[in-house]
């Protein structure tokens, strides 16, 4: 649950490279980014598990058996709980709840952030002031405690409810970033021109502004999904959402409340925790990919070291331009006059 790490606010997509490349090639370039690609593959894997998890799970995750608190084995890959439940099945079945809440909350929050952020940025004036104040308030109020309180006040908070609560409280960061970007887009020449020729506000927003916000919206969505997954698991872990629906947080809830630690049952909480961390890492990687796509400068490329012709390597860095070779340059013959007549 770290700070939102996207720096897209600071580096707006104005680079000539981004603007010039045709749309299709740009999209391919994003997928070709190794970070984004890794993240997408892992995310796709979790989505697949979310869909087929309940079918491929070897056991009913709630079914009790006589194998109490057993270490991982061929039969129970991730071991068993105090009631003999199969943890591997719990993780598989629980994936659906995690992905559902994460994606739905992400969608809700993203929709709200677009609505509020873009309106604020585009309308300006009093509308902007009040919408900005609103998002700043939501940004400053600690979201997780608010979510915990709202969720625990609702009688039985199922996945849908939890997703909505998270979505409705975590749109502010995205709205803020989108507002800033819309504001700067609005001042660009082509948008000014469209306004001058009397195009409708709605048309300008959908055709001139939105396409330029895609990267920011995507990164905001991914960021919210990370936050939503973490929040949901936290809610389950501290026992707020209904424990009857399995998700990774529920597993951890039981592990904690049954003193899995004291009993040395590490397998009870390690798989779920790792799954969270891997999913979180994958989503972060996607966001790094987006950041680097928008601002190629951020790429931590391996190309900072280059070989000169005479064999030793130099570093590419700001302030000290590397000299590749001092002699063997392709030289076109030059007829020069002699002018060193000392004054």
């Amino acid at each position: 649950m770290s700070a939102p790490t996207s720096t897209i606010t600071a580096v707006t997509p104005e680079g000539p490279e981004v603007a010039a490349a045709p749309a299709k090639r740009r999209r391919l370039r994003f997928v070709a980014n190794p970070k984004a690609a890794t993240g997408l593959v892992v995310l796709a894997f979790f989505c697949l598990i979310a869909i087929i998890g309940p079918w491929i799970a070897p056991f009913d995750p709630s079914a009790r058996s006589s194998d109490l608190i057993q270490a991982p084995s061929g039969k129970h890959w991730f071991g068993t709980t105090h009631l003999g439940q199969d943890i591997f099945s719990q993780v598989l079945v629980g994936t659906r709840g995690v992905m559902f809440v994460g994606l739905l909350a992400g969608l809700v929050a993203t929709a709200l952030s677009i609505l509020i952020g873009v309106s604020a940025g585009f309308l300006g004036g009093a509308a902007d002031d009040s919408l900005s104040a609103l998002s700043n308030v939501f940004l400053v109020i600690p979201a997780l405690p608010l979510i915990i309180i709202v969720a625990s006040t609702i009688p039985s908070a199922g996945d849908l409810m939890v997703a909505l609560v998270i979505g409705l409280t975590s749109w502010a960061w995205g709205a803020r970033v989108l507002r800033a970007q819309t504001l700067s887009l609005r001042r660009r020449d082509y948008v000014e021109a469209a306004r001058a020729t009397g195009e409708s506000t709605w048309r300008i927003i959908t055709f001139e502004i939105m396409p330029n916000l895609t990267a920011i919206i995507a990164s905001g969505f991914v960021g919210t999904v990370i936050f939503a997954v973490m929040s949901e698991i936290t809610l389950a872990f501290i026992g707020i959402s209904t424990i009857s629906e399995w998700n990774w947080g529920t597993i951890l809830f039981w592990a904690q409340s049954q003193q899995a630690l004291a009993q040395g049952a590490w397998w009870w909480f390690v798989p779920a925790g790792l799954a969270i961390a891997i999913l979180g890492t994958a989503l972060s990687l996607i966001n790094f990919g987006i950041d680097e796509f928008v601002s190629p400068r951020l790429r931590s490329s391996g190309h900072t070291r280059i070989k000169t012709k005479d064999g030793h390597s130099v570093r590419m860095r700001v302030g000290f331009t590397p000299v590749l070779s001092s002699k063997q340059a392709p030289v076109t013959p030059v007829v020069r006059r002699e002018q060193e007549e000392v004054a």
């Binding site: 649950m1 770290s2 700070a3 939102p4 720096t7 600071a10 580096v11 104040a133 700043n136 308030v137 940004l139 400053v140 109020i141 600690p142 979201a143 997780l144 405690p145 608010l146 915990i148 309180i149 709202v150 625990s152 006040t153 609702i154 009688p155 960061w173 803020r176 936050f227 973490m230 936290t234 872990f237 501290i238 026992g239 707020i240 951890l252 904690q256 630690l261 909480f269 390690v270 925790g273 969270i276 961390a277 891997i278 999913l279 979180g280 890492t281 972060s284 990687l285 790094f288 400068r297 951020l298 931590s300 490329s301 190309h303 900072t304 070291r305 860095r317 700001v318 302030g319 000290f320």
Partner: protein, 326 residues
């Protein structure tokens, strides 16, 4: 000063908004969870106490919403947040007064330390592209994707135990009486080490990353090229030209994300049974102790606002452009 005043107005507004949200949450929820609890403790509560719970949770259906709101404010200003059910009959305000210092010490110090450490590492990572630091980024990303509480659980399993130096729970040795003596403080520090390390490990990477990216962005500013052109020592260019400017957006980012961070850190208290307000929140949730929950939310929000204000003052000191002319 104008900048600070504007921010102050904003925080007052936010505080008002938070309190108002706090007022409405229990009123918007169908059913009323509090009445049954009040009934349970009926015989042991003074009418005053019952009254204040009625005001907090809007149980007095006869009063208009507006007069309920006015009463609510009056009560909040008196510091009357009702009675806790879990620690019946201790007032919520009293409980919070005891646990807040623990949270401020643990969460406050570690959050600040994490920011400072992460920012410094980020400066190096951004300045020396393609160095060891860049290779560490995937590792820190993975660490920051682990939920705080899970890392805490892991830390307890691996490092704490009956004969380990790190105690696995509590804020100080059970036999000790809280006071300002060496023995108590030593014990408190010892108990806070593991939670603090947990928070540090999972939060530092966010700062490394944002600072690194800001450094990369700032490195292409004209004044950095000029600093190089002036032939200044590398350290000076890095610190007082690049890092000094890259720090500004990071400080305002710090202020804005405090709400996110503090929310997560509070969970570490739960895992370590640390006597702060995060643990209070956990207890309150378990026991459906609504007055305590509301009180915790208020205190957390107000603390975050104060922290924000401090971050703004820091920004004011760091950026001459926000200072008054002349």
């Amino acid at each position: 000063m104008k900048f600070l005043l504007q921010r102050l107005v904003f925080y007052v507004f936010t505080a008002w908004a938070a309190l108002t949200i706090n007022f409405f949450i229990p009123r918007m929820i169908p059913g009323d969870p509090v009445t049954s609890l009040i009934n349970k403790f009926q015989g042991q509560m003074s009418t005053d106490a019952i009254n204040s719970l009625y005001v907090l949770f809007g149980l007095d259906k006869n009063a208009s919403l507006w007069s309920q709101y006015v009463d609510y404010w009056g009560q909040v200003f008196r510091g009357d947040l009702g009675l806790s059910f879990t620690f019946f009959p201790t007032p919520v305000a009293e409980i919070l007064r005891q646990s807040l210092p623990w949270t401020i010490a643990l969460v406050g110090i570690t959050t600040f330390a994490s920011f400072m450490i992460g920012t410094s590492l980020g400066v190096l990572a951004g300045w020396r592209r393609g160095s060891v630091m860049d290779g560490l980024l995937p590792v820190t990303t993975f660490l920051s994707s682990i939920p705080y509480f899970w890392l805490g659980l892991l830390a307890i399993t691996l490092l704490a135990g009956p004969d380990s130096f790190f105690p696995s729970s509590g804020g100080y040795e059970p036999g000790l009486v809280p006071s300002w003596n060496a023995e108590f403080i030593g014990s408190a520090v010892q108990h806070s080490l593991l939670p603090a390390i947990t928070i540090l490990i999972s939060s530092v990477s966010g700062w490394i990353l944002t600072m690194r990216n800001m450094m990369v962005t700032v490195a292409s500013e004209d004044y950095i090229t000029v600093a190089h052109a002036k032939g200044l020592p590398e350290r000076r260019v890095m610190v007082s030209y690049a890092a000094r400017n890259a720090l500004l957006p990071n400080v305002s980012g710090f202020a804005l994300s405090l709400g996110f961070i503090v929310g997560g850190t509070l969970l570490v208290e739960i895992v370590f049974s640390y006597p702060g307000i995060g643990y209070n929140l956990f207890q309150a949730v378990g026991a459906k102790d609504y007055p305590l929950m509301q009180g915790v939310f208020l205190v957390i929000t107000l603390s975050v606002l104060v922290a924000n204000l401090l971050a703004d003052v820091a920004y004011l000191l760091l950026d001459p452009r926000t200072r008054k002319e002349g």
